[in-house]
C-alpha cells in the first residue's frame, strides 16, 4: 500500500518534470527564433544558407533600425502614450473608485455595474464607430486621440479593480481621520492609497502594457509616421508583401523589452491582482 503511493508520487513527479521541459521548449523557442533572426546577416536569414543558429552574429539589424528607420520616433510615441495612459488610469481610477467605494450618491450601483460591462465590450466592436468619434473630434492622427482611446480600454477595468480593493480597506482608520478634520480627498491620498499599493501596481502594469501592446486602435486611428506607435511601426517593415525579417525581429526584440521588464518588476502583485479583478480574491 505505502509502496504504491510512493510509486505514484514518483511517477507524478517525473511526468511533471517532463511536461515542464516540453512547456519550456514550446514557450521559449519563438523567443529564441526572434532573437536569433535579429542577430543574423541577411544571407543567413533567407535561402539555402539559412541557419538555425547564427554563425556570424551581428548587431547590424539593430543599427539599421536606429539609423535608417523612424524607429526611435515610434518608441518615443509608445512611451509617451503608455506613460500618459498609466498616470491617467492611476489618478482617475483612484478618484472614481473612491467615489464608488465610499461616497453615497444616486446612480452608484448602476455605474459600478456599468464599469464591468464596458470593460468587457470588445475593441473589435468599437473601432469602427470610434473612428467616427475621433474624426468628429479631429483627433485622428494625434497622440491625444490614441491616449483617449486607450483610457477607454483601461479606465473601466482599473476603476473596477481599485473599487474592490478600496472596499477591503477598513473604514475605522478613515473615520478617525475624518473626525480629526481630514478632507475626503486627503483620506484617499493619506490612508487608502498607501494601503492599496498592490492594486495600484496592477493598475500601473495593466494600463502600461495595454497601451504599449495595443494594435487595432493604433492601426485605425493613426496613419502618419510622426504619431505611429511601435506596434503599428513594425508593420512598416512589410513593403508590398515583402517582409524585412532581420530589422523587424530586431525591432520586435526592442519593443518586447519594456513590457517584459514591467512584467518582471510587477509579477509578484500581478498574479494576485489578476485574481482580484478577474476572479474571486
Amino acid at each position: 500500500m505505502g509502496g504504491s503511493v510512493a510509486r505514484t508520487r514518483r511517477i507524478l513527479k517525473w511526468t511533471g518534470n517532463i511536461l515542464l521541459v516540453v512547456m519550456l521548449v514550446w514557450t521559449l523557442v519563438p523567443f529564441y527564433w526572434m532573437l536569433a533572426t535579429s542577430l543574423k546577416k541577411d544571407k543567413e536569414i533567407y535561402g539555402f544558407e539559412a541557419t538555425l543558429i547564427p554563425r556570424q552574429p551581428t548587431l547590424d539589424a539593430y543599427r539599421r533600425i536606429f539609423v535608417q528607420t523612424p524607429f526611435l520616433k515610434y518608441l518615443r510615441n509608445s512611451l509617451l502614450i503608455a506613460v500618459g495612459t498609466t498616470v491617467a488610469s492611476l489618478v482617475l481610477g483612484s478618484l472614481g473608485a473612491y467615489a464608488l467605494a465610499r461616497l453615497k450618491f444616486p446612480g452608484r450601483g448602476i455605474i459600478a455595474r456599468g464599469l464591468i460591462f464596458t470593460y468587457l465590450v470588445p475593441q473589435s466592436l468599437l473601432f469602427i464607430p470610434l473612428f467616427a468619434v475621433m474624426s468628429f473630434l479631429t483627433l485622428i492622427d494625434t497622440r491625444e486621440g490614441l491616449f483617449l482611446a486607450y483610457l477607454g480600454i483601461t479606465l473601466p477595468f482599473c476603476t473596477w479593480l481599485l473599487l474592490g480593493y478600496f472596499r477591503s480597506v477598513p473604514l475605522e482608520l478613515e473615520e478617525a481621520a475624518l473626525v480629526d478634520g481630514c478632507s475626503r480627498l486627503a483620506t484617499l491620498v493619506r490612508i487608502i492609497l498607501p494601503m492599496s499599493l498592490p492594486a495600484l501596481a496592477v493598475v500601473a502594469f495593466f494600463s502600461f502594457t495595454q497601451a504599449w501592446n495595443e494594435f487595432i486602435y493604433a492601426n485605425v486611428l493613426v496613419n502618419s509616421v510622426d504619431v505611429r506607435t511601435i506596434t503599428t511601426g513594425l508593420t512598416l517593415f512589410i513593403v508590398e508583401d515583402v517582409f524585412f525579417w532581420g530589422p523587424m525581429m530586431a525591432a520586435s526584440v526592442m519593443a518586447t523589452i519594456p513590457p517584459v521588464l514591467v512584467y518582471l518588476a510587477f509579477q509578484r502583485w500581478v498574479v494576485k491582482g489578476l485574481t482580484l479583478g478577474a476572479v474571486k480574491g
Binding site: P30, W33, Y46, A50, T118, L155, L178, G181, W245, V260
Partner: protein, 320 residues
C-alpha cells in the same frame, strides 16, 4: 436622498474643516448633497470616458449597421438590409462556422494546457519561481509581435519550422503552413494558444495555491487516490475560477482580430476568416462602414449573453 438627512454627516466628513475661516453653507444645487456632488465631480472623467469612448460608439455601431455608409460619404438608412445580405452570403456563413471552431478549439486547448501548466508549477521543485516567470512571459508580449514572429516561424522558405524539419530530415518537402487550406486554421489556433495559455495558468495556479494542503493529506489518509483527490478536491475548489476564466477568455479570443490579420488575412480561400477580421476587412478594406458594423454586431448577441452572465458573476463574487 433627502438633503437634511445627509447634512450632518457631510459636515463631519467634508470640506468644512479644510476651509478655514467662514464655514460655507452647503448649496442645494440640484438637490444633491455635498457628498454626492463631490462623488460626481471626481467620477466625471471616468464617466465621460465611458460615455464617449465606449457607450456612444457602441450605440453608434448599432445605428451604423442599419445604414449603407461608405467612408467619407453620408449614410443612407436601409433598415436590416445589411443583415439580410449577410445571411445570404456564403463567405459570411463560412466565417460563422470558422469563428465557432476557432473559438471553441482555442479555448479548450488553452484550458487544458493552462491547467496542466498550473499543476506542474504547483509541484515542489527547485527554481520553480524561475520556471513560472519564463512560462508566463508570452502573456506580456504585444500580440502583434507574437503574430509577426509566428508568421516568420511558419515561413515557407526560411522559417524556423521548415528549416528545423529539413535540417533534421523529418520532412523532405517544404510545408506551406499558412497557405495550406488544411493546415492554416490549426496554425492560427496554435499561435492563439501559445499567447493565451499563461493567463489560464496564472489564474489556475493562484487557485491551486489557495487550497489548503491539509485537505489532500486528510484524503490520502482516507485512502483516496491521486485521481480521486483531483476530482473531489481540486476541481470543485477551482470551479469558480474555471468558469470566470473561460468566459473572459472566450470573449477575448472570439473578438481578437490581430492574430488573423497578421497571420493569414482570413486566407487561404477564407479558411481562417473569423468575424472580427471580416468586419475589419469590410469596414476598412472595402470601406463599407455600415456593413462592417453589421458584421461585428452579428456575433454580439452571443457575446452579450457571456458579458451579462460574467458581469453578474463578478459582482456576486465581490459581494461574498
Amino acid at each position: 436622498m433627502a438633503l437634511q438627512a445627509n447634512s450632518t454627516q457631510t459636515y463631519r466628513g467634508n470640506v468644512l474643516v479644510e476651509a478655514p475661516a467662514l464655514p460655507r453653507r452647503p448649496r442645494a444645487s440640484l438637490g444633491l448633497t455635498r457628498e454626492a456632488r463631490l462623488a460626481y465631480a471626481i467620477l466625471a472623467p471616468t464617466l465621460l470616458v465611458i460615455v464617449f469612448l465606449v457607450a456612444y460608439p457602441f450605440v453608434a455601431a448599432i445605428y451604423l449597421s442599419l445604414q449603407s455608409k461608405m467612408v467619407g460619404a453620408p449614410g443612407r438608412f436601409v433598415g436590416l438590409a445589411n443583415y439580410a445580405e449577410l445571411f445570404r452570403d456564403e463567405v459570411f456563413l463560412r466565417t460563422a462556422w470558422n469563428s465557432v471552431v476557432y473559438t471553441v478549439v482555442a479555448v479548450l486547448l488553452k484550458f487544458v494546457i493552462g491547467l496542466a501548466m498550473a499543476l506542474v508549477l504547483d509541484q515542489e521543485r527547485p527554481f520553480n519561481n524561475l520556471f513560472r516567470t519564463l512560462l508566463f512571459v508570452p502573456w506580456a508580449v504585444p500580440v502583434v509581435i507574437v503574430a509577426l514572429n509566428w508568421r516568420w516561424i511558419y515561413d515557407d522558405l526560411s522559417g524556423f519550422l521548415n528549416n528545423f524539419l529539413i535540417t533534421f530530415h523529418l520532412t523532405s518537402n517544404i510545408i506551406s503552413w499558412l497557405s495550406d487550406p488544411h493546415l492554416a486554421m490549426g496554425c492560427v489556433v496554435a499561435v492563439v494558444v501559445w499567447a493565451g495559455t499563461p493567463f489560464y495558468a496564472m489564474t489556475f495556479l493562484a487557485g491551486l495555491q489557495a487550497i489548503a494542503k491539509e485537505l489532500y493529506e486528510a484524503a490520502e489518509i482516507d485512502g483516496a487516490s491521486i485521481v480521486q483527490q483531483f476530482f473531489y478536491i481540486t476541481v470543485p475548489r477551482l470551479k469558480t475560477i474555471f468558469i470566470t476564466t473561460v468566459m473572459l477568455s472566450t470573449i477575448w479570443t472570439a473578438t481578437n482580430l490581430t492574430f488573423v490579420l497578421i497571420l493569414t488575412r482570413g486566407g487561404p480561400a477564407n479558411r481562417t476568416e473569423i468575424f472580427p477580421h471580416l468586419a475589419y476587412e469590410i469596414a476598412l478594406g472595402a470601406r463599407r462602414l455600415g456593413m462592417g458594423a453589421a458584421v461585428s454586431l452579428v456575433f454580439f448577441p452571443v457575446l452579450v449573453i457571456f458579458i451579462t452572465l460574467l458581469t453578474r458573476r463578478m459582482l456576486r463574487e465581490r459581494e461574498e
